[in-house]
Amino acid sequence: MPNKSNTKKGQSTLAKRKALFPWLVPLASLRLTLTLLSLSMVLIFIATLEQVEIGIRGAQAKYFESLFGIWHYPIQFWGGEYLNSIPIPIPGGWLLGGLLIMNLTAAYITRFQWTMKKFGIQLIHLGIIMLLVGQLVTQAIQEESRMQINKGESSNYIERFHGVELALIDVTDPKQETVVSIPQELLEEGGLISSEDLPFRVSVKSFGSNCDFDVVSSKDKRVGVSKEVDQGVGFSANLSIKPKSEDYSSEAMNFGYLVFELTDATGSLGTWLTLSHPAGNHWWKESPKLAELAFQPIRHKGKLWGLTLRSKREYLPYSIELLGIENEFYQGTETPFNFESDVMINMDGNEGRRALVYMNTPLRHEGKTFYQYQMNKAADYTVFQVIRNPSWLVPYIACIIVSIGLLWQFGFHLVRFLRKNSLQKA
């Protein structure tokens, strides 16, 4: 039971902490907390408005995964014709989240009394800090990918939902393939890209995350950057492309494009065009004219290389084999109530682990979580959504801490109230 001496002790340690960290005192302001919370509400409101125009992913990237975003007052709102042209900076999720963490931490150090009476409140705030930090870490490092497996086959890689890479694959050795991948960020920077793992240099002529493409009847009818192409399927099929801006909507079909020249010590080897298919480059094989977009061959110094612009790929140290799939429907309807994939994880040293993946029951393996995402029973394949989130446990721990804090605080006051009541009755 706290008494006056405890309170005094708490106040004196608080004074000591304030003296030790004087620069944290303004950061611990309650006004700052309220301002940040208010700005968070403004941010959510504006991002919700913007989501209509630029989609969930666009709004998330522009407003929540940034320090600030520039917003234009909607033209259809009152006075929009005058106000729309004014760029309004909006504090982003990382800025507000970061400041909230600092504000709470500063309050923890310079404002809260570290006494048993306030222990519950300290726990609640600690839980909230953990939630905020966990969310920031998740935003920064979480990766979402997909893995498609045909029944009876296995896969040892996952592909990102967003972002592409130029893969140059040496397939000459029958025992292994060497894959050299250039990520989208470097392709966006442009210029000359070289690597000690490549026998040639890649000079980026044009790169974009979306385009319209067409097979035209002659070379002269190709437009823009595609005119320069003199090698590969872009040349043989007379592919013409028109760059366009990326579509952020959930139904988006963004075809990334890359026009690049390869050079070696002897000079230019030619200019190629490659396109990425939003549903995976294996879909190019369905089109006889464009099948080579999945693998454009180049022979160089006795080796056969293949080129392809594809979804960013991550190879895994294990493979997952699809043994069987099952989907069940509500009786008399075509509404599914369960998708189920029976898989075997094949690891090094002939180790295996069998698992059943179905709705709300993901497979967790080596830091990755495989959720049942899509399934096609007719075509016999399954698609997993694969999440890598090292901080996935943090929200659970934070909620437990907040719950303990609330129980402590309410319990403490209840006990005090009951004791006071019994004393009064006595």
């Binding site: 970061g98 040892n156 393939e177 894959v179 004219k289 006795g302 056969l304």
Partner: protein, 347 residues
């Protein structure tokens, strides 16, 4: 030593805030070129080579060629070297007959082939080596050197065609090329017959080979440029300078099938490739020497081709007339008469 109390509180606050925000916004990985070594995934055929310094690559590949090269000399490019994978059965005799007519041989049979064929080890590879010398008296004596490599169910043909002196000079380069060229079939097997001159001795008396087919060429068609691929080659022209090219070629197997061949020809006259459904508008059934064949007709704005395809004894025969549209229309009847005249001398 600097103590924290020596730095003003506001400066500490600003620096601390900036540091935390910067560290938060730079959590993601730095983009770099990555290398991964993985188990083989590519299922297509692998053919790769290192060319001798004095060889050049021909950009346009004809028919089933996987690669085509020439020798660079002071007088310009000379000779023709190729890499040809076979997806269907092919014997040494069939291969030899593909080239023999060009340099004056009649149709070879097993007996004729024996003295022309030898086995040769180059590096770790064993080749069937067929050397055909020009049979006619010409200024530049031509030689056809055929190297056949069989591995499991795959067959690869390397033809080297050129003047005798050129082939003799380039023999070392050709051997090195054969030794180091990477050859690997894809998941679709390339099938071939076992060698007719393998470990088992030939039968005591081989049945005589079939005589070559006959046909009647219209009198106004003039002989055109011959090549190893062409059993007949003629030109047709009119007073306005319009020209047509006529050829008869044969290859083992189906050379990719009807659709692939039609699409290749459509591309040659500037038309879009078609699919199985669209094929019907170009193809109609005909008979050649009483055997079922297909006639393919297509026209673009200025060009036309007529082609007849016949599959006989696991070989494809192509009879093709192509060129200027109006002249082709005039010659269509002559082409039909030519097809009617083809005779394979069936037993």
């Amino acid at each position: 030593m600097i103590h924290s109390s020596m730095i003003p509180a506001k400066a500490q606050l600003v620096c601390g805030t900036i540091l935390i925000l910067v560290s938060l916004s730079s959590c993601s990985d730095e983009p770099v070129v990555k290398k991964s070594v993985i188990a083989p995934e590519y299922t297509g055929p692998v053919v790769a080579w290192v060319l001798p310094e004095n060889w050049g690559e021909n950009p346009a590949l004809a028919g089933p060629m996987a690669g085509s090269f020439h020798v660079m000399t002071k007088e310009g490019p000379k000779g023709r070297i190729g890499v040809m994978p076979f997806r269907e059965s092919v014997s040494s005799l069939e291969v030899a007959n593909m080239f023999a007519r060009e340099i004056g041989y009649g149709l070879l049979d097993e007996e004729n082939l024996v003295p022309l064929l030898e086995k040769k080890m180059i590096g770790a590879r064993e080749f069937e080596w067929i050397r055909l010398e020009e049979q006619r008296q010409t200024q530049a004596q031509k030689t056809v050197l055929l190297a056949l490599y069989r591995k499991d169910s795959q067959t690869w043909l390397f033809p080297f065609i050129g003047e005798k002196t050129l082939i003799d000079e380039e023999l070392e380069n050709f051997s090195r090329f054969l030794e180091y060229t990477v050859l690997r079939a894809g998941s679709k097997p390339i099938k071939a017959l076992s060698s007719p001159v393998s470990s088992s001795p030939p039968p005591a008396q081989l049945p005589p080979g079939p005589p070559p087919p006959d046909w009647t060429i219209p009198s106004h068609w003039t002989p055109g440029q011959a090549s190893s691929m062409r059993l007949a080659s003629h030109k047709i022209s009119d007073e306005e300078g319009n020209e047509l090219d006529f050829s008869v070629t044969t290859f083992p197997g189906d050379v990719g099938g009807l659709l692939a061949n039609v699409n290749r020809w459509l591309g040659q006259i500037g038309l879009e490739p078609t699919d199985e459904e669209g094929l019907k508008q170009y193809v109609s059934p005909i008979k050649i020497d009483g055997m079922a064949a297909q006639l393919v007709e297509a026209s673009s704005s200025d060009k036309t081709f007529y082609a007849a395809i016949l599959m006989r004894n696991n070989s494809s025969w192509f009879f093709k007339l192509t060129g200027e549209k109006t002249l082709a229309l005039k010659e269509k009847e002559n082409f039909s008469e030519f097809l009617d005249s083809v005779c394979f001398h069936k037993p």
